[in-house]
Amino acid sequence: MEKFVALLFSGVAYGAVLAIVSLGFLVLYKATGVINFAHGDLVTLGAYLAAWFISTSGIPIVLSYVIAIVAMFLVGVVLERVAHAPLRKRPVIVVVIATLAASIVIEGIIAVWQGSQPVPLPSPVGNSTVTILGASISDQRILIIVVAFIAVTAMVLVFQRTSFGRQLRALASDQATAQLQGIRVRPIAVIAFGLSAALAALAGVLVGPLSALTIQFGFNLMVLAFAAAVIGGFGSIGGAIVGSLIMGLTQQLLGGYIFTEYANSLPFILLFIVIVLRPTGLFNVQRARL
């Protein structure tokens, strides 16, 4: 029972982080149609920025997190200006390569700036644990679940209830028609890039304290988050959240009990089965169009 509770919490916490990453991914995809390969590196950069603020200036941890997230919003805006705005008239594939290039540049900058040694990221709750139903759960995981729940709820409300969300959904369903209705594509793209990067940074500072920061950790997270978004049916917000939780729980519960050696590949086996059975994801949002 203790083991089950512990695995359940770590699975949900992992899924929650994936949900934030995949939401960041989807905001951008819905607004601009771009798959941002640099998203994982934005996660990494956000976490490194927070660690840097804490270690150099002695700002309180939570405040450093907030500064890092705001700074990443600006990085997202810069990324839009550099890698998206000049290419807006080009085919999407060109923009995708531009984001790949941006990802290589960001990784290079982090390597030059911080070196390749792992960097620890302090957490506001430290290493303390609580005991729930006999299982000791680290406070960081509880924090992840609470913060992620708030963030995801806020994002869903933004999507469903605000003018920005309506415009975003209009752009996602038909860009040309949305433009004809007077929706301003450029400001939306700028905000979407910023928001996406801020969400990436949030995921980075949440998951960072669980282990030390390395240059690759965001990229691995991005691959799983992308897979989670695909399980849900690419483009569906609810689908991405459900997909993320499924990925996290499969990896922790099945991997913790039965296939311990193969825990990391379990989400991918599940993914493959989902695509074989439902080739457009669990919650399909795509329509056939000539």
Binding site: A83, V94, I104, I109, F272, I275
Partner: protein
């Protein structure tokens, strides 16, 4: 309206507007557009390339590291042409090309190992191609209905699961996914022991692959696959068996990946699943995009850059990665159709001005 001369140049087949390229077969009946099957210059291009490579390769690349890079480039060319078939023609983003390379290497190692079956090198190569082609067939049939992202993610899943299996299946893939002690390649009693000898082996294999690629460039397979890629529904309505064409190219391209991995393994002496990771998958993608997605020469040209740029940038040490990314960004913005596309554009311009100089109006329908 596009310049009518472009219709006349044989390479204009993959029109980016979609539709026009595959409608070529309707025009054939009226004798307007010559389908590429009547053109010989594909083979001529391959022959010229091979003669140039055969004459210049051993002369220009004399140092040990240069020979290594040249051979590495040829291995990447083979895998890249396979990826061109899958991604460029069939329009399927197969993340699993590097998995196929690893699988090919392990398969060949398993078949040819002195402590195992001890079969000849050639059998290892064929085994590598058969197993990768077979896996691609099974996977292709399983994810038959998956399009775009879903196909990409299914193949990514295959790669991740495959890598984990290689890590644990010691009997097949060696301890921790590293199989060492592969035999050096040998054919008909001749053993290719050094980099300069292996060059000639790779030269021969690349030559065969390029001729096969030229055949596909000329064949209806390419045209129909592009039709299915650009608009699957319309292609099917027009009687093009879209899925079959895509599956054929996926199987053939994956088999080339297996071939390339097996060649690499026997040349290097070891195969490690970690050296065929996601970085190389993105690398293959970059090769194709740098070179140009629309032609079999795209990966060949792109692989030069993929192999060479890190070497050129090694002098700037830690900034190399940043500069590499910036170079990539500049190339994408400056020549979005890739370097082969750029060359072709200049070729067309030259042809137009040549015709104008002769005072002859270009013939067209």
């Amino acid at each position: 309206m596009s310049d009518p001369v472009i219709v006349e140049t044989p390479d204009a087949a993959p029109a980016p507007q979609g539709g026009t390229s595959w409608l070529g077969f309707m025009n054939r009946a009226r004798g307007v557009v010559r389908p590429p099957i009547f053109d010989r210059h594909y083979y001529l291009g391959v022959a010229v390339f091979l003669v140039a490579l055969g004459l210049l390769g051993p002369v220009l690349f004399t140092s040990l590291s240069a020979q290594y890079l040249l051979n590495l480039w040829m291995v990447y060319c083979i895998a890249g042409i396979g990826f061109y078939w899958v991604f460029g023609l069939a329009g399927k983003f197969a993340f699993c090309q590097t998995f196929m390379m690893a699988l090919g290497g392990f398969m060949s190692a398993w078949l040819t190992k002195a402590t195992g079956y001890n079969l000849p090198f050639l059998v290892g190569l064929i085994g590598a191609m058969v197993i990768t082609g077979f896996i691609a067939l099974v996977v292709g049939l399983a994810v038959k209905r998956a399009q775009a992202f879903y196909f990409a993610i299914a193949t990514l899943a295959l790669t991740e699961v495959g890598t984990t299996i290689f890590q644990h299946w010691t009997a097949f893939a060696g301890p921790n996914g590293t199989q060492s002690g592969l035999k050096p390649p040998s054919l008909f009693g001749y053993t290719f022991t050094s980099n300069s000898k292996v060059f000639w082996l790779f030269f021969g294999v690349l030559g065969i692959v390029l001729f096969a690629a030229a055949m596909i460039e000329r064949s209806p397979l390419r045209r129909e696959a592009i039709a299915a890629r650009d608009n699957f529904l319309v292609a099917q309505i027009s009687g093009v068996p879209g899925f079959g064409r895509q599956l054929t190219l996926f199987v053939a391209g994956s088999a080339l990946g297996g071939l390339s991995g097996a060649l690499f393994g026997h040349w290097d002496g070891s195969v490690s699943s970690s050296s065929f990771g996601i970085e190389l998958a993105i690398g293959l993608f970059l090769m194709l995009l740098l070179g140009g997605v629309g032609s079999m020469w795209g990966p060949v040209v792109g692989a030069i850059f993929y192999v060479a740029i890190p070497q050129w940038l090694s002098s700037v040490q830690q900034y190399s990665q940043v500069i590499y990314g910036v170079v990539l960004l500049v190339v994408v913005i400056a020549v979005p159709e890739g370097l082969v596309g750029l060359i072709r554009k200049f070729g067309n311009l030259a042809m137009v001005s040549y015709r104008r100089a002769r005072g002859r109006r270009p013939e067209h329908a």
